[in-house]
């Protein structure tokens, strides 16, 4: 792969230059830097696009893969995320201003979920921020373009460099993830606490190990140079064999986010940066599914409180969107808040089995399993009144339930509230499906589990 990295960089640059172009002619297919290793276990030979990359859709089958983070662990690929390295004397001050999080005690080796707002207090970008040094940070997210744009608009003595094609990002998540990584690294990770990272050596290769928790379980990320991605993927896969590790395909990749109550940019909301010069280039324009009909594109924007992130807002420092956040808190918080929905199993079964029933009743829109790989927003009703929007519907084999996230009016954000989800885009044979409001996360939060004793 070493001699392929230039090709990989060039492909990334071409893709970025024309993200909406036609495949092959204008826009090269860009695969994970680990595609060779992944394709060794791709009997279904299906690839699907995630952000700027094509990933293996399914390695074995989706129920096994969607269960892996609950029962054993998975090896998944997020190399397609944007990675931006921010350096310089003002790097810390800039990031502190750009995000609502308190970075005053953000030590080297720490990780934060960095939430960046626009002037109106809508989420413009969010991702994982790590501090590598006094003046060095990396932001890993769906897109780094908002950060790059805002930095260029100010007078900061700092520099941001897009290193996306240079680095792979693998996730190893689930209760047995620590065993896999310790076996592969030949070193203990017992002292690495949640939201901390550190450099490590994998067969002599310099990598970073991050303890993160997008699965809601004990879990890690491995970041390293893209040219070593195939070797590292094989190494982790082999090390994981005795631990029941499964390779995670795109088909099941986002089920865990819904179980753990984590909203995803481009799936559960669109960032307000989408209409600015800081808009993400990585996402191909496609359709948005579901029954919700927006009155304007801005109906897909969300405030931090509507995504469960209000607690990250720290008013003791100056940041972009602070005035809006203060006004919102003074008003008693965002009008809607993020909750879970458990869909009625009988009503779901009605949709799934509709094509098996005789008759000429029009068929409802199909319900893809475990979920649709794209944004869908469904209208949620109480007493016939629209009270919120559901997103990210996913069949969770761990919970044995169809679940989703819902941004719902605050007064109805009560566990047990009965609602109706309107199923199917306007113009299709829509169905009204019953659902019940649930707490988030759906499963107990085990991200911070103490591993020092074991």
């Amino acid at each position: 792969m070493n001699d392929r990295i230039d090709e990989y960089r060039a492909a990334y640059a071409r893709l970025k230059a024309d993200p909406q172009g036609s495949l092959i002619d204008a826009r090269p297919a860009i695969f994970s830097p680990a595609i060779a290793a992944q394709d060794e276990h791709n009997p279904k030979t299906a690839l699907k696009r995630f952000g700027p990359q094509y990933l293996v859709h399914e390695f074995t089958n989706w129920t096994e893969e969607a269960l892996a983070h609950s029962e054993s662990c998975y090896l998944g690929d997020w190399s397609g995320l944007a990675k931006v390295v921010v350096t310089g004397p003002d790097a810390h001050a800039f990031l502190s201003w750009l995000g609502m999080n308190d970075l005053s005690r953000f030590e080297i080796g720490r990780i934060k979920h960095h939430v960046q707002l626009d002037e109106q207090g809508f989420v413009a970008s969010e991702g994982v921020l790590v501090r590598r040094g006094e003046q060095e940070f990396q932001y890993t997210a769906g897109s780094g373009d908002w950060l790059l744009w805002r930095l260029a608009q100010g007078e900061w003595d700092a520099e941001a460099v897009d290193v996306s094609p240079e680095r792979f990002v693998f996730g190893v998540q689930g209760p047995r993830s620590i065993g896999v990584l310790e076996a592969a690294l030949g070193a203990s990770l017992r002292d690495l606490a949640f939201n901390r990272f550190r450099p490590a050596s994998l067969d002599g290769l310099a990598v970073e190990v991050l303890r993160t928790g997008i699965s809601g379980e004990l879990g890690y990320e491995i970041h390293g140079p893209a040219e070593a991605a195939n070797d590292v993927w094989r190494r982790l896969r082999d090390a994981g064999g005795p631990f029941g590790l499964r390779e995670l395909g795109l088909r099941s990749q986002s089920v865990q986010h819904i179980e753990s109550g984590i909203a995803t940019n481009g799936l559960d909301y669109f960032p307000s940066s989408a209409v600015t010069p800081g808009k993400a280039w990585q996402f191909r324009q496609g359709g948005v599914g579901g029954s919700f009909v927006p009155s304007a594109f801005s109906d897909y924007f969300r405030r931090p409180g509507e995504l469960g992130w209000d607690v990250r807002g720290d008013l003791s420092h100056e940041f972009l969107g602070r005035d809006a956040l203060i006004a919102e808190r003074e008003a008693g918080g965002s009008a809607r808040v993020l909750m879970g929905l458990v869909w009625n199993a009988e009503d779901v079964a009605e949709v799934l089995t509709a094509p098996l029933r005789a008759g000429d009743e029009p068929l409802p829109e199909p319900m893809e399993l475990p979920r649709l790989q794209g944004p869908t927003f469904d209208t949620v009703l109480v007493d016939g009144r629209a009270v919120g929007v559901s997103s990210g519907r996913a069949l969770s084999p761990a919970l044995r339930a169809m679940i989703s996230l819902v941004a719902i009016e605050r007064s109805l954000a009560v566990v047990g509230t009965e609602v109706i989800v309107v199923w199917g885009a306007p113009g299709t044979a829509q169905r009204e499906l019953r659902a019940t409001v649930a707490a988030l996360p759906f499963k107990p939060d085990r991200r911070r589990v103490d591993v020092t004793a074991a």
Binding site: D18, E119, Q120, F122, Q153, P277, S295, F297, V389
Partner: protein, 443 residues
């Protein structure tokens, strides 16, 4: 259900002023969404519509307002300077709405589609203007707006395909098995192709005869394929987003004037009903010509040369101010030809160039106007700037200088010495293509 609505007025209040909201140095130049940047290459595509024939797909970058109802004609007449009395079905007019101060809201293409129905296409600001007055004045109309595909997902309602260039009529005759029934310029006729029925509008781009075909988007692919297939033997070139963006510079059409809606206290209602995340709330302003007062960027329809679309035989918003300003407006639309040596020094002597800066135009260091769009036109080997200059600096041949750079915005005075490189330029008329054709013919 409407989600949360943040208005343009709230955005202005938050930012402190309209200019503070909109001034965004370094913003990338707008370009049409969805269509590929280039098909044959931007330079070759620019050549196609003047030398052979070009197909442009305009289906995605314009907003369409569908306006229908017993009061539709009265509404459009009272919110624009256009005379709508003589308006045939299928005809299109350049729509010229003005604010109370007589300045332009933004123009658009207004098509009459029925006795009580119209489609207004183009930049959404003019459509929001009409929609606002429809509600405020309780007109009996229905308006639905189908936005651009800049970020709205899914297919648009209408397709819009242009065939332009010296061989355009050959391609059209080939596609339809004979010439389309003769119609006047900007009039349309129904046509059928491959089972799809749609309208053919007589049109011209960059001064070349051609047609614009408009129909149900469901028929987009087959109509486009049929036109491309018919054009193959004439060497039809599909125009990409890069080349398409540059055609207005030659045809003298200012694509994105600053709507005159930000300062009038009487338009607070409009600003409160306009979404902040819209053209009016987001369209970046940038360049070397900075002013804290957004009204300095407003343009009069007189300055833009829209006089022929203006009629005073009806009552409309802004009528008196527009009437009074006919003789008093200071600026006029011109095209600047950049000096080749200075272009090579400052901008490089080749490569794609298209941007929409408000750049200072000076004579002897004195500000005489500002640019609207700057493009490199490869077949001419020139960089042109569609601009507004004071009338006394508008004579063809006048030598000016353009300050090329990005003023950082609020906090730095408008006339701060920022050491922007100067590009010498020669004033020529706008539209440039008409001038160029006659001038070259005279040569």
């Amino acid at each position: 259900m409407a989600w949360e609505f943040v208005s343009l007025e709230q955005g202005i209040e938050q930012a402190g002023s309209p200019v503070r909201l909109l001034w965004k140095p370094g913003a990338p130049a707008w370009k049409p969404p969805i269509v590929a940047d280039e098909y044959a290459g931007w330079a070759e595509e620019q050549a196609a519509w003047r030398e052979t024939v070009a197909l442009s797909d305009l289906s995605y970058h314009m907003s369409d307002a569908f306006i229908e109802g017993p009061d539709a004609t009265r509404l459009l007449s009272e919110t624009s300077a256009n005379n709508l009395v003589k308006f045939e079905l299928g005809q299109a007019k350049q729509f010229v709405p003005v604010a109370n101060d007589g300045n332009l809201i933004t123009d658009g293409i207004l098509t009459k589609t029925g006795e009580q129905s119209y489609v207004l296409s183009g930049v959404e600001a003019a459509q929001h203007w009409v929609e606002y007055h429809a509600k405020a004045g309780k007109y009996d109309v229905q308006i639905s707006i189908d936005p651009t595909r800049d970020f709205t997902p899914g297919d648009p309602k209408l397709f819009r395909l242009q065939v332009q260039g010296p061989r355009a009529l050959d391609v059209v005759a080939k596609a339809f098995g004979g010439p389309i029934p003769e119609t006047k310029f900007f009039h349309s006729t129904p046509v059928t192709l491959g089972g799809a029925t749609f309208r053919a509008l007589r049109h011209g781009m960059a001064g070349q005869a051609g047609y614009e075909f408009i129909g149900d988007y469901a028929d987009h692919d087959r109509v486009k394929e049929a036109l491309l297939a018919a054009g193959a033997e004439y060497g039809i070139v599909h125009v990409g987003a890069l080349a398409y963006s540059t055609n207005g510079v030659e045809s003298g059409w200012v694509p994105s004037p600053t709507p005159a809606i930000y300062t009038d206290p009487g338009l607070e209602g409009l600003r409160r009903s306009t979404n902040l995340y819209s053209y009016e709330g987001q369209k970046p302003l940038y360049g070397s010509h900075f002013s804290e007062d957004i009204a300095d960027y407003y343009l009069s329809p007189w300055e833009l040369g829209y006089g022929r679309s203006i009629s005073f035989d009806h009552e409309f918003i802004g009528r008196d101010a527009l009437h009074a300003s006919k003789e008093t407006v200071r600026k006029t639309k011109v095209t600047l030809e950049f000096d080749a040596t200075d272009v090579a020094r400052v901008l490089g002597d080749s490569g794609y160039l298209n941007t929409y800066p408000r750049d200072r135009i000076e004579v002897g260091g004195r500000l005489v106007g500002f640019t609207q769009q700057v493009s490199r036109i490869a077949p001419l080997g020139k960089v042109l700037a569609l601009s507004l200059v004071d009338r006394d600096s508008a004579a063809p041949g006048t030598q000016v200088e353009v300050a090329w750079g990005e003023h950082p915005g609020p906090g730095t005075s408008a006339d701060a010495h920022l050491e922007f490189p100067r590009i010498r330029a020669t004033v020529q008329p706008a539209p440039y293509n008409e001038f160029a054709r006659t001038a070259y013919r005279a040569d």
